[in-house]
Structures are given as C-alpha cells and as structure tokens.
C-alpha cells in the first residue's frame, strides 16, 4: 500500500500516467492530510472544492492522453501570487478580503501544466521576515522538532514558511515560493526540503504582490531536486507583461540532472566563514558537502568574494527602499482595508489605513525605505547601496570568469530555532539571510539542498549558486549532492 502523500512529484506523475491511482484520489489524500495537520497553520486558505474540480479536469485530460508536466499534482500556492477569484492576502491585514480579478503568470503557467491548487500558503507579511511570524494569520509550525526538546515548536523559516511546512509536512507535493533575500532557500533549509531561487528574470513577476522589484523572484519548493526541476520548467518562461522577464527559451531542466559533477569546478568562498565565526557544526556540514562533490569527481576551488560582508547592509537599504515605493499603493482607495472616521480627509484616511493595516516589521521597512530615499539622504544611503551592489555582483562575475562552474556555501547560519525564542532585535533577525542575500543582489540562481541533520536532529541545507540562467548546472550539482547525502530523514511530526 503506497501512501499517496509521501510520493515525489516524479513518482506521482508516473503513477497517474500508469493509472495506478487517479488525480482525484491523490488530491483527496492531500485534503485529508491537510485537515489532519491543520495545526501547522501552513495554509491561510485551503481550497478543497477548487482542488477537487481541478483534479477531475486533470483525470479527464489524462484519460485523453493530454497530460501536462504537472498534471494532477496537488500544490500549495504562496499567498503572494494573485489567483483569479481566490482571496489573496500577502499575509497582511491591509489587503483584507482582496479577491484578484486576474491570475499571476506563474500560477497560470502551473495550471496550464495541469497542477492542482490545494490552497494559499501562509507567509511573512508582504514576504518580509525569516520566521513566518510577521504574518497576520498566525505562526506556522515547522514539522520538525529537536530531539532534545520534542514538544517545543520551531519556526519554519520565512518568508515562504507555509510553503516549506506544507511540503515537509506532506500536505502538498510541491509549493511555490518567492525569494527576495532568501525567502525560498532559508525555509527550505529549516524544513529539510529543496528550494530554488531561479535567476532574476527566469520567472515572470506579473501578478505577484511586489516587495522589492529588482530582487523578487518566484521559484519552486519540493522534496527532491528532480521535483524542483520539473516544477521550474512549468513555472518559467518569457512574459511580455513583465519587462524584466528574460526573452530566452526554457530548457528541459530535468534533462541534465543525472550527468554528475565530474570535472566541474566548485568554488568555496572563504568569506562565508565570517570573522564573527561560523557555527562549527554548520562548518562541518559544509566541509562534508564539499567532500561529497569531490568524491563525485568535482574539483573544489578556493575563491574570494571580498564584498560579502557588506551584502546584508546593502540589501537592507535597497529592499526597504523599493518596498516603501511598492507598498505606497495600499492607501484604502482601490482595494483592501479602509479606516475612515467621521470628518476625516483623504490624508487622514491614508495615515489611519496604513497605520492599522501594516504590521510592525512592514512599517519598519517602509520607514527605513522612506528615510533612505528622502531628500538629503538619497546619495548617502540608496545610491551608496546601489554602488556596493555593483561590487557584490562583480565579485561573483570574477569567480565565474576564472572558470568556477558552481559555488557551494551553507544555506543558513543555523538550523531552525524555537518559535518562542526568535530574535526580537531586527538586525539579529536579518543575519538569518547572511548566506542568501549576496546571490539575490547579484540576481543569480541559488538552490538549497538538505544535506544532513544537526546534533539536535534538525535538517541543514547547503546552497549551490550558479551563473545567470545556468539553473541546469546548479540542479545537476544539487542532484549529485542529494545522491551523496542520501538525506532520507523525515520530520518528527510524521513519526508521531
């Protein structure tokens, strides 16, 4: 007897094509599991009726021999993607009961490929956060727990925390995420799944609630590298509605997966062992990952990315600056919350609506961004950050120009931490993104692959970074790492 919710996307596709089970059965199994694990709070809006309709349509297409690449596969959609006729909140109170009259390009692409919507996944408010705790819809619980504290709840990471918990908790076969500074890769590492932030421009941003437009990128989250490759193929592609969407062909990302890493040069950046120290445990896992790739025939190369230490500070000017501009649209006029008292003018309405509708972290970032862009400070903060960003991107280019094919780093500076012990200081919280932000600033593809369990029994991921639009090499190296690591541990929740 197979457990349908334990399958990978690739296995489920085979089973559906072989008619071992139907899309309706696969979806029903997931809906039942979602109900049983509602306490994870991974979904802000389950859509079981829509899921059953979509699964029935998938079964009809499979019967006609017209199955798409994601046909009949039930997935979670991060609630940052606008879904036509289905409430979209961005994890914020300010969007209220916003029901988009249009579909995001990435979600539309997934539906065209046959995917089934299980529901909208929880996230940090406007994707700003690293724990999913800034969501207006409550905390998400990581399906993993520490072996020494089995009852203490852990964060799933963020901002795509609901997506990661859903995939790890076997209540979705895959999920969409978005990544601005690490929002796919960090929760993937915390939840022991695979997550890919593609090259900027690979997936259309149209219809995704905007956070920082020069950094935002949608990507797949799933339980294997192959599944992520299948999903990316369905999500990606040029879209005239996003002027930064790259007009280049989408390869078959699964084709090169098994080619191995023989002869590949793997860069090991020395600056990812920061002065303030890398946890010895994470350092050891990183070294082990490097040895796995070496044993598979790759050649490790010591490289330098000298401006790494400035990436976080650069990011925390650029992202809030862009956010302060993007979030200006939430003003109580066209959609969402409106706070208006008797006798109030237009300005009072703006101030009160935004004061009541945005959470603390979003307000902090809007204020920092507004300050950085304000007269007299623009050059000192924003322009300076844009210049340092150039240097960070140049560091990566130099490494790739010297012949490195892919770069290996830790995905996060620690494993998942307890919900009741998350840092309260914003800057300490921002340090979670120390290894993922440089890649985002340079627009490069970054893949997080679970490699080992820490002493406390928690998953820890490593990150592979590639050249622009070379997701194929990143996925190929990721597959080699996955094979060598043979990471088969499952979340404690599933054993209990």
């Amino acid at each position: 007897m197979i457990t349908l919710t334990d399958l990978t996307i690739a296995e489920a596709r085979k089973g559906l094509d072989a008619k071992t089970f139907t899309a309706a059965e696969l979806t029903d199994a997931h809906i039942a599991a979602m109900e049983a694990r509602a306490d994870l709070n991974a979904y802000v809006l389950p859509t079981p009726d829509r899921a059953r309709e979509m699964a029935a349509a998938s079964d009809a297409r499979i019967a006609k021999g017209k199955a798409g690449a994601m046909e009949g596969i039930p997935i979670a959609m991060k609630d940052l993607f606008c879904t036509d006729g289905t409430r979209t909140t961005a994890g914020s109170k300010i969007l209220g009961n916003f029901v988009p009259p249009y579909e995001s390009t990435v979600s539309a692409n997934l539906w065209s490929a046959g995917a089934v919507l299980l529901g909208k996944a929880n996230l940090d408010e406007f994707a700003m956060g690293s724990t999913n705790q800034t969501s207006a819809f409550g905390d998400v619980v990581n399906p993993w727990t520490r072996t020494d504290e089995p009852t203490r709840k852990l964060v799933p990471g963020g901002s795509s925390g609901g997506s990661a918990a859903a995939v790890a908790g076997r209540i979705a076969l895959g999920a969409t995420g978005t990544d601005t500074g690490g929002s796919i890769r960090q929760p993937a590492s915390f939840c022991g799944i695979v997550g890919l932030k593609p090259t900027y421009g690979r997936c259309s941003r149209w219809g995704i609630v905007a956070f920082a437009s020069s950094l935002d990128q949608a990507g797949p989250m799933a339980r294997t590298v192959e599944d992520v490759a299948i999903m990316l193929g369905a999500m990606a592609g040029h879209d005239p509605k996003d002027s930064t969407s790259a007009p280049i062909a989408v390869p078959d990302f699964t084709a090169a997966l098994e080619q191995g890493v023989k002869g590949l040069k793997v860069g090991i950046p020395r600056e990812y062992r920061p002065e303030e120290g890398l946890s010895p445990e994470i350092d050891a896992i990183w070294t082990r990952g490097m040895e796995m790739l070496k044993d598979a025939g790759a050649e490790p190369v010591d490289i330098s990315l000298p401006h790494t230490k400035y990436a976080l500070a650069t990011y925390y000017i650029i992202a809030p600056a862009e956010a302060s501009s993007n979030l200006a649209r939430y003003d109580g006029v066209r959609y969402g919350l409106r706070v208006l008292d008797e006798g109030d003018g237009l300005n009072d309405m703006y101030m009160k609506t935004r004061g009541a509708g945005f959470g603390a972290e979003v307000k902090r970032r809007i204020l920092i961004g507004t300050y950085a862009l304000s007269a007299g400070y623009y050059d000192a903060y924003y322009l300076k950050a844009q210049k340092v960003r150039s240097l960070i991107a140049r560091d990566f280019k130099a490494a790739f120009d010297q012949g490195v094919d892919v770069i290996l780093t830790p995905a996060t500076p620690s494993a998942a931490f307890p919900l009741d012990d998350a840092p309260s200081d914003p800057v300490t919280m921002y340090l979670n993104d120390v290894f993922t932000v440089p890649t985002s600033l340079a627009g490069l593809p970054g893949l997080s692959v679970p490699v080992a369990l820490t002493e406390a029994g928690l998953p820890q991921g490593l990150q592979l970074i590639g050249r622009p639009f070379d997701e194929e090499t990143v996925l190929r190296a990721g597959r080699a790492l996955e094979k060598a690591a043979a990471f088969t541990a499952t979340p404690s929740l599933l054993e209990g």
Binding site: N97, A246, M351, L391, L441
Partner: protein
C-alpha cells in the same frame, strides 16, 4: 546615525503611516539600530563604481502604445471599499 522622535514623526508622515505617540521612541531606537548597522557601508570605496539599479542585463523592450486590456470597470472596482458607477469614491477633499 541616530534618529530622534521628531525625525521619526516626520518620516511617518512622509510615508503616510500613522504612528501613535507612545510608539515613536521605541521606533526611533529600532530604526537607529538598523541605520547604525548600515553605516558599515561607509568603509567601502565606491569611487568610480556605477550604481546598479537592475541585474537584468538587457534593454527594456518597447511595445506599440495601444490599449491591450480593459473595458470592465466593474471588475476593476470590485474590491474597492467604496465605488460608484465604475469610479472609486474617496472622502470629500476640501482644501
């Protein structure tokens, strides 16, 4: 860089975010903490470095200046807190 209460009040008005008086001081502390940490960028020599606005190494595409969508005001205004005859309604502006 340390922000005082009055500066935070001013930024909040620029950003059109109501901040209650009793939150101005704690917010000033948090924002100053973030800005102090960001000061480290001052160490980086950026003379002769071009600012990077986008990683997309491409010329923005052109298209014909024609209407490609629309004609359904009721759908567009369906989510508005207040609307009438295909228009958004806002409080009366008397200056």
């Amino acid at each position: 860089m340390s922000l005082d209460k009055e500066t935070v009040r001013k930024i909040a008005v620029l950003a059109r975010v109501a901040v209650p008086d009793d939150q101005l001081d704690p917010l000033a502390g948090e924002l100053s903490g973030i800005l102090n940490w960001i000061e480290q960028l001052g160490e980086v020599d950026t003379s002769d470095v071009e600012p990077m606005a986008s990683v997309a190494d491409m010329t923005l595409p052109w298209r014909d200046d024609v209407v490609t969508d629309g004609g359904y005001p009721e759908r567009v205004t369906a989510n508005a807190p207040d609307s009438q005859d295909g228009f958004y309604l806002v409080p009366k502006v008397v200056e």
